[in-house]
Amino acid sequence: MSDDRVTPVLETRGCTVSYDLTHEALHPVDLSFEQGGTTALIGPSGCGKSTFLRCLNLMNREIPRCRVGGDILYHGENVNSTDVDTFELRKSIGMVFQQPTPFRKSIRENVLFAPKRHGVTDKAVLDELLETSLRRAAIWDEVKDKLSRSALALSGGQQQRLCIARTLAMRPDVVLLDEPCSALDPISTFSVEETIRDMAADGICVVIVTHNMEQAARVSDRTAFFYMGQMVECGPTERLFASPADSRLEDYLTGRFG
């Protein structure tokens, strides 16, 4: 390892997850995530990819009896310790979920609610934040005339893009996406993928869990394959799909299971 290597934004060393202190849901995972890179986490259902994703912003802490072991380094600092302020951390590490999760509030409030809670009060700044965030999530044109209407009146695809805008309004440097398109139609999926590529281009470190190989190929530059609670193989997406080293990944890619 050379000294001039850039410190990864996010890195896990021996990251494990166990429930009830006995059942190990995730075996030690060593992965690092660079600025502006997009990593896809793939694997069959129940392989631990979402569990791993939820370690990265310490969301697993919210689950009773769930224990996360190992080191999770954010800008070189281990955040998997009890004295780290998870609320501060989650401002910089955003997360988008499988199902759209708009709050029962207006579109404007959905985007601006968290920044306001985190102390942004200047109206001009908030308005600017609202427009940029919605534009980056490619939904501004559709909602600009109904910002004070309920977010629940939007379609599923619009709701998901709103949730992405809401995450971007926090100006995060990492965005975690947990199968963000699995509930969306092809057109919404296309525009979400576009947004993901834009985020990476803006220097955000993107980690996306997906079931969809084509999606992984379209948006990611690196892919990690999980199987039965283990991170089996990780490498550049093209190389991984073209010539998998591990036979389990090859079986998965050729549709023999999962």
Partner: protein
């Protein structure tokens, strides 16, 4: 060749099956309609009976405003009407915040352990407690032990005890019905658990909470058994210009006895001696019912308005 003969018989079987399920469907629809019709008929009969019998008094302003008579005909229900609303408001002012706090704690904060299970079971048991038991407890504790006598305070605290378990349960269920993903979404934005609960979960659960509060308010307004031995069975004449909080005729004095509409119906029917007993009783019942109806409509409208403000819908 066997197929050739079995094809028509299969078609016949399918047709017969289609006829049978269609008949079943018609039968079930008929039965359900009949049940709903029966329930509606009973409801209309009761409401109609009360309204028709009480109609004469319902629009009689002097009946609605004057004080009741002990021995002569022509008494009114003015104080009872006021007392019912005053007790309801006081009860809600105490029980809604307490229930909200308890429900938020149980739904969001309580650790999943034996103590929580016991608390939840206790609340469920309390919510099915007969109201006369609550009333007698209120009599022993608030009226006698605390020395507050038959008073609005004793009455509203008894009603609070009667109301809290039901409210806690409905609010808790409303909060628990909010999808888990809403909590996660709030926490993932770096909000604290408290911020997520107050600003995300409560607005999401608000319509169900408002409905729960309105329904419980209807029950409280019509409650008699819990009040007979706590708020008492007498209604001193009220003077709305009297602001001496120690005077029995001051409407706002919480230490004065306060018979409500429901208690009044019970009392004049069990021990009343006024000659126009039946008319007063019918009139009071009609007023009570119209009040509950009006109150529900108003609260629903207010609830919708609050929800709209909170949720931009």
């Amino acid at each position: 060749m066997a197929d050739v003969t079995s094809v028509p018989s299969q078609a016949v079987r399918a047709a017969r099956h289609a006829r049978r399920i269609a008949a079943q469907d018609r039968f079930a629809t008929g039965v359900l309609t009949a049940i709903v019709g029966l329930v509606l008929a009973v409801l209309v009969a009761i409401v109609g009976y009360i309204l028709v019998n009480g109609a004469g008094k319902l629009f009689d302003v002097s009946f609605l405003t004057s004080k009741p008579e002990q021995f002569r005909a022509g008494g009114g229900i003015g104080p009872e009407l006021f007392n019912s609303f005053y007790l309801l408001v006081l009860t809600l002012v105490i029980s809604v915040p307490v229930s909200l706090g308890a429900a938020v704690f149980l739904a969001e904060y309580a650790p999943d352990n034996a103590a929580t299970t016991v608390a939840k079971t206790a609340i469920e048991t309390l919510s099915s407690l007969p109201s006369i038991v609550v009333g007698l407890f209120g009599f022993l504790f608030f009226v006698l032990q605390c020395g507050w006598g038959f008073s609005i305070l004793s009455g509203s605290l008894a009603l609070t005890m009667f109301n809290i378990p039901i409210l806690v349960r409905t609010i808790q269920q409303a909060l628990e019905a909010v999808p888990r993903t809403q909590r996660d979404a709030g926490l993932a934005l770096g909000l604290t658990k408290w911020e997520t609960t107050i600003h995300v979960l409560l607005p999401a659960a608000m319509p169900a909470i408002v409905t729960g509060v309105v329904l419980s308010a209807g029950r409280v307004f019509g409650e008699a058994a819990a009040l007979i031995y706590t708020a008492g069975q007498s209604a001193p004449a009220l003077d709305f210009l009297n602001f001496d909080l120690t005077s029995a005729s001051c409407p706002w004095n919480v230490f004065r006895p306060a018979e409500t509409l429901a208690v009044h119906i019970w009392k004049i029917n069990s021990e009343g001696v006024v000659p126009d007993l039946e008319a007063v009783s019918n009139g009071t019942a009609a007023v009570l019912m119209v009040c509950i109806l009006a109150f529900n409509l108003l609260a629903r409208w207010a609830g919708k308005a609050i929800a709209r403000r909170l949720t931009a819908e």
